[in-house]
């Protein structure tokens, strides 16, 4: 979920011999765990407040220790969430302006074509699915959803927490507007996570019961070649097959860079 830093510590020569790839650094894995825990706690304490007249919400709030405790938990983890987003921005700043890393999470026109090609493949109009680089369009959508959604949530949440301060400069209506943004954006985020993210990383055929990559950092060679064919080719110098690989390639082919470029053109 970030700007790619290719696992430079791994020597490319040995990539072909490994049966897994390290996709996420320890700091990125910790970042995900922090985000996951804060998201769940914020969603539970927040949705319970938004829908407090519902039986389940009332039950939750009363069992968490009442509305004031629920709000306290929500605000503490809102602080944690804000800090983790700030950390991420600092990390991005360093990656972009100091380390000049490749911006693999940046949406491109190619992602739009991938959506169309995925649909064409699904409906039998194309022979094979599009090939993806380090992050496919679904992962980019979720990442940017969290970035923009998170900003909306943080800003609107801050307005709700400091209504007198914000109305020193802005009209009063921004406060109920912030409440409208906050609750709706959170509802949308929870829906996207529950419907899509959990399908993608847990319930998808072949993945069930769980995709552990974000916790271990490791992705198998087979899945790497299937789901991130372009990145796989780039790392190994392997030529992706013309068909979607049914099994992991036993040996990497020559002239990977050229093949990867060709693949990108044909897929696009």
């Amino acid at each position: 979920m970030t700007v790619s830093e290719l696992p430079a510590t791994e020597t490319p020569a040995k990539d072909s011999e490994r049966d897994y790839f390290v996709r996420f650094k320890t700091s990125q894995r910790i970042e995900h765990i922090v985000l996951m825990v804060t998201f769940i706690l914020l969603a539970v304490t927040g949705l319970a407040q938004k829908f407090y007249t519902a039986g389940w919400a009332e039950w939750l709030i009363l069992h968490m220790g009442g509305i004031s405790v629920t709000r306290l938990i929500h605000r503490i983890f809102a602080g944690v969430f804000t800090l983790s987003i700030l950390y991420h921005f600092a990390y991005l700043f360093r990656a972009v302006f100091i380390k000049h890393s490749k911006l693999t999470m940046m949406p491109t026109v190619r992602d739009l074509r991938d959506v169309v090609n995925e649909l064409r493949y699904s409906f039998g109009l194309a022979d094979r699915p599009p090939r993806f680089g380090r992050f496919d369009y679904r992962q980019k959508f979720e990442y940017w959803g969290i970035i923009f959604g998170g900003l909306i949530i943080i800003i609107s949440g801050a307005i709700l927490m400091f209504p007198t301060a914000i109305t020193l400069v802005l009209p009063g209506q921004v406060v109920p507007a912030a409440k409208e943004f906050h609750g709706n954006e959170a509802t949308l985020a929870v829906i996207v996570i529950v419907i899509w993210h959990l399908y993608d990383v847990m319930f998808r055929p072949g993945i069930f019961p769980a995709d552990t990559t974000i916790f271990t950092g490791k992705l198998s060679r087979k899945r790497m070649a299937e789901e991130h064919a372009l990145e796989y080719a780039e790392l190994t110098g392997a030529t992706p097959d013309d068909e979607r690989p049914a099994s992991p390639p036993e040996a990497p082919g020559p002239a990977g860079q050229i093949a990867a470029g060709k693949s990108a053109e044909t897929t696009g």
């Binding site: 009363l62 509305i67 007198t164 072949g206």
Partner: protein, 426 residues
């Protein structure tokens, strides 16, 4: 009912003999097989309007019938017990107590007037139903008390009362009300008035302070009477109320929709209104009328005021705390924090604390550093519309479209993905 001192005059003696003879004759004639010693006592009160004898004389009643009566039904009482010479009558007592100078010196030095206005009593709600001894129930004791011992010319015993002053006399006697009004009496035991009394403050109101004693009348006829009763002690609050939107409608228009004191504070279970619990529950008191469409439409008041309050931060906090620990004081505003309590005025009145020009001052009661911008953070019980709060309205509409759109899109993506996977496996 026996007495210590009877001044037997000749006529009384002859009267007693005559009654005795008639009684004996009646027993002999009507029931020669029954033991002659027992003659059923006459009914000592009027029976007109009180034909349901078992209300009082049933086994659970105030004066239960004696053992052995269980076999008789209600209608049979008057076959044995005579009603003709209806024993003690209110008038019997009035005969003496109509004398205005009649009084008793209490040990504390006060003089207790024993005068009773018989006509006033007869027009009271108890007139014709209760006789004096139903409340002044002097069974057994047989002395008079105080310095002003009177020659008791009647056959009725007057008990000794060890009371220092008139208030103690009232306090000693008021509990007789519970013999009939047990439910309301019990309710008063939970009231703030009883708490004051239990602390030893004798000025706390008891039944007779609000309802009167010999002049009891329907407490809410007319409705304004109720609030005037409370005004007897709570004068300054009554003056606020009398100028409020509720009070003026009651007093000037005899409006039957506006609340009198007891509509909010209840009549017998009057709670201490200064507690955290009362503060929380006050919202339900207001919404009792203000969410009632039938009442509110007469005055063009929206019933959404309750809903919009509960949807907002203040209302949500109060609603949740009400379901939690009611003894925790919530700082979030309840209705009365903004609108006032006894002095509530119409929201469009220039003197209203919540009219636009004044609202920021109300906000500053809690939000000390609120600016002129701040009050419009609250949508004044309006639901967002294009005109009232366009920003809020359009954000709501935006998500109203976006969320279903995203849900359908994501679900479609999943369905297509699964369908492709299944197709590939075939």
């Amino acid at each position: 009912m026996h007495i210590a001192r009877i001044q037997l005059s000749a006529s009384a003696l002859w009267g007693a003999v005559l009654v005795g003879l008639i009684t004996v004759a009646a027993i002999v004639i009507t029931n020669s097989s029954r033991a002659a010693a027992q003659s059923p006592p006459p009914i000592p009160h009027p029976v007109a309007g009180q034909e349901q004898c078992l209300v009082c004389h049933g086994s659970q009643g105030l004066k239960p019938f004696p053992a052995g009566h269980a076999a008789f039904d209600e209608k049979s009482c008057v076959t044995c017990h005579s009603t003709a010479s209806a024993g003690v009558k209110a008038q019997d007592c009035i005969n003496c107590h109509a004398e205005k100078p009649l009084s008793m010196n209490l040990t504390g030095g006060e003089k207790l007037s024993l005068y009773v206005d018989g006509a006033e009593y007869e027009t009271s709600i108890h007139g014709g139903k209760l006789i004096c001894t139903d409340c002044h129930n002097y069974s057994g004791a047989s002395t008079t008390s105080g310095a002003g011992t009177l020659a008791i010319a009647s056959e009725y015993a007057h008990p000794s009362r060890d009371v220092a002053n008139k208030r103690e006399y009232s306090l000693a006697l008021y509990e007789v009300c519970k013999r009939c009004h047990f439910d309301n009496y019990t309710k008063t035991l939970d009231s703030v008035h009883y708490q004051v009394l239990a602390r030893g403050d004798q000025s706390a109101p008891i039944c007779t302070d609000c309802h009167g004693a010999h002049n009891v009348s329907a407490p809410s006829q007319p409705r304004s009477k109720t609030s005037q009763t409370c005004a007897g002690c709570h004068q300054s609050l009554y003056e606020q109320y009398a100028t409020s939107v509720h009070g003026t409608a009651l007093i000037h228009d005899n409006n039957s929709d506006v609340p009198v004191c007891t509509d909010c504070h209840k009549s017998h279970t009057i709670e201490d209104p200064r507690t955290a619990a009362f503060r929380l529950e006050s919202v339900q008191i207001c919404s009792g009328c203000h969410s009632n469409e039938t009442i509110m439409q007469k005055y063009g008041i929206s019933t959404r005021v309750v809903k919009t309050y509960l949807e907002d931060f203040h209302g949500a906090t109060v609603a949740l705390q009400t379901k939690d620990n009611k003894d925790i004081w919530v700082n979030e505003a309840v209705c009365t924090d903004c609108h006032g309590v006894h002095n509530i005025v119409a929201v469009d009145s220039p003197s209203s604390p919540v009219i636009k020009a004044n609202l920021v001052n109300v906000c500053r009661n809690c939000h000390a550093d609120a600016t002129e911008n701040f009050p419009s953070a609250w949508l004044s019980h309006y639901e967002p519309t294009v005109h009232k709060a366009p920003l809020v309205y359009f954000i709501r509409r935006f998500y109203w479209v976006l969320i279903p759109f995203i849900v359908v899109g994501l679900l479609a993506h999943i369905v297509i993905d699964l369908w492709r996977t299944i197709t590939n496996r075939k």
